[in-house]
Every structure is written in C-alpha cells, then in structure tokens.
Symmetry: C2
Subunit: 159 residues, 2 copies
C-alpha cells in the first residue's frame, strides 16, 4: 500500500519538475486521500485585469488535476506510462475572485480496471474524468477530459 | 478604418497588461489582417518533460486567440465591452515539439452582425468561434469556444 501523503509530495515535485509553467501558476498539491486529488493555486499570479482568475490558468490547473489522478492510479498499480490529454470540454460558470482549487476524483472501479487492463494488454489505455474548480467552496468551472496513457515498456532506460 | 497593425500592437499591450501570465507564456501577437488573428508562443517556457508543449499552455494560447478576435471586432465597431469565455471544447491531435501559433478567424458577417446587435440592444452578446494551434504549419490542436461580451455603458468611469 502506497502512502497517500508520500504520493502528494512526489506528485508536486513531478509537476514542478516536468512542467515549469506550474511554478508560474503557483500550483500546489493540496491533498490526496486515495480517491480525490485537490490541487491549489493562488489568485495573484493568475489574475486578470478584472481581478478574477484568467480562464487559461483555470483550464491549466483543472487539466492537471485529471493528469494527477491518472498519475496516482498508475503509481498505485506500479505501472510506468506516459500520460497525455486527448480532449476536454470546459464550462466557465462563475468568475473566480480568490485563490482556487481543482478537485478530481477517481472514476468508478470498473472503469479503472478496464483502463489498467487495456494499458497492460494493448500498451494504451483511455480514461474519462470529470473535475471542477472551486473558489470559496463554490463550483466555478466544470471539466470533462479524456486522458490517454502509453505504456513505457522499459522504464529504466526511459526514466 | 482602424489600422490593423496598430490594433496588433494595442492587443499585445492589452494582453500583457491585463493578464500577467501571458508574459510567463511568452505570448506575442504575430499578425492581424482584419480577418484572422495569429498569436505566437515559444516552446521553451511552455515545455514539459517530454520536450513538447504543455496542454495547459496550448489551451491558454488558443483561448486567448478567440478572446483577441472578439477584442478586435469590438475595437473596430467602437464598442466597449468586457469579454469572457463561457465554454470550450479542445482536441489535442498531435504533440507540439516546437514554437507554435494559435490562429483564429472572424466568423461569417451575419454572425458578427447578430453579435453586435444583441450586445448593443441587450447589453450582452454571444459569439461562437473556432481556432487552432499550428506547429510547423501542421494543425495540432482544434478549439471551439463560446465568448460572451458584456456592454460597458460608461467606458470612461470603468476604464
């Protein structure tokens, strides 16, 4: 059993190292309880002239929350794979006038099993996820995204 | 008739001033010919560990290309309005392994007229736009977005 606090620390380090723009976004990994991942970002580096968060920042953070859930699922299963997003649909419901979080939960276990089986059998697995941005506990952005994981056959040589 | 080169310079200054994250993205306004707007961004600040552009950066730049077309339409019509995005659908077709541009064109004139009429009559206009990210002249990301403009009744006091 992997310690979820340890995964939280590892995921934040991975995001900051692999995607330098996450530092400009002020992105942090707030929590992961084995089911739900919460990423956080402050308003200030993501502000626009109207004193609300820039849509591009909201989209980047919510997209990363889905990426992060796939990363956690793979870590827990001991699978090394490259994760990319295939498509997404985003609804901007309310302006975000303060610091915000992106919340993404694992899909139901049957979907997770199908994803892992396809990934191990075919070398490629797809997963549909929903996530949202919340500010002051209010849902402000809703997101649906499809992610694709490509199995890395020789993790040592590709690391 | 507004000079399109002058609009290009004004739009870049507006984006850099209103949305500081555009500086972190390395965003530039490449061209505007009165019909099509081209924004540019270098790979380097937007890179991920796989040496391709981060999906969040691609999304931010393509979202801004639509925002920019609405901004140009309003400037040309002499209308002051606040522009926000309502929703978007993005397909990530190919990895982007170099500098990239986002290209957005005006919709057909009938749609533009309807948008401007609604904005002036009701104080709120909606516009659907398509745009894409290209790298090495190849389409790499396709985007559909709906933007909403809210009329500013007293531009002087709100500027």
């Amino acid at each position: 059993m992997i310690d979820t606090n340890e995964l939280t620390v590892q995921l934040e380090a991975t995001l900051h190292h692999e995607i330098p723009l996450t530092l400009a976004l002020g992105l942090t990994v707030e929590s992961y309880d084995g089911q739900t991942l919460v990423l956080g970002a402050p308003l200030e580096p993501n502000i626009n002239h109207k004193a609300t968060a820039f849509a591009g920042s909201l989209n980047a953070v919510v997209t990363l929350s889905g990426w992060g859930i796939v990363w956690c699922l793979l870590k827990e299963a001991g699978i090394t794979a490259k994760i990319v997003i295939q498509d997404s649909q985003v609804n901007y419901l309310l302006p975000v006038a303060g610091d915000f979080v992106a919340v993404c939960s694992k899909p139901d276990p049957a979907q997770v099993r199908r994803f892992q089986n396809m990934l191990l059998k075919k070398g490629l697995g797809r997963l549909e996820l929903t996530a949202e941005i919340r500010s002051n506990s209010q849902p402000a952005v809703t997101f649906q995204g499809r992610y694709v994981a490509h199995l890395v056959k020789n993790p040592e040589t590709e690391a």
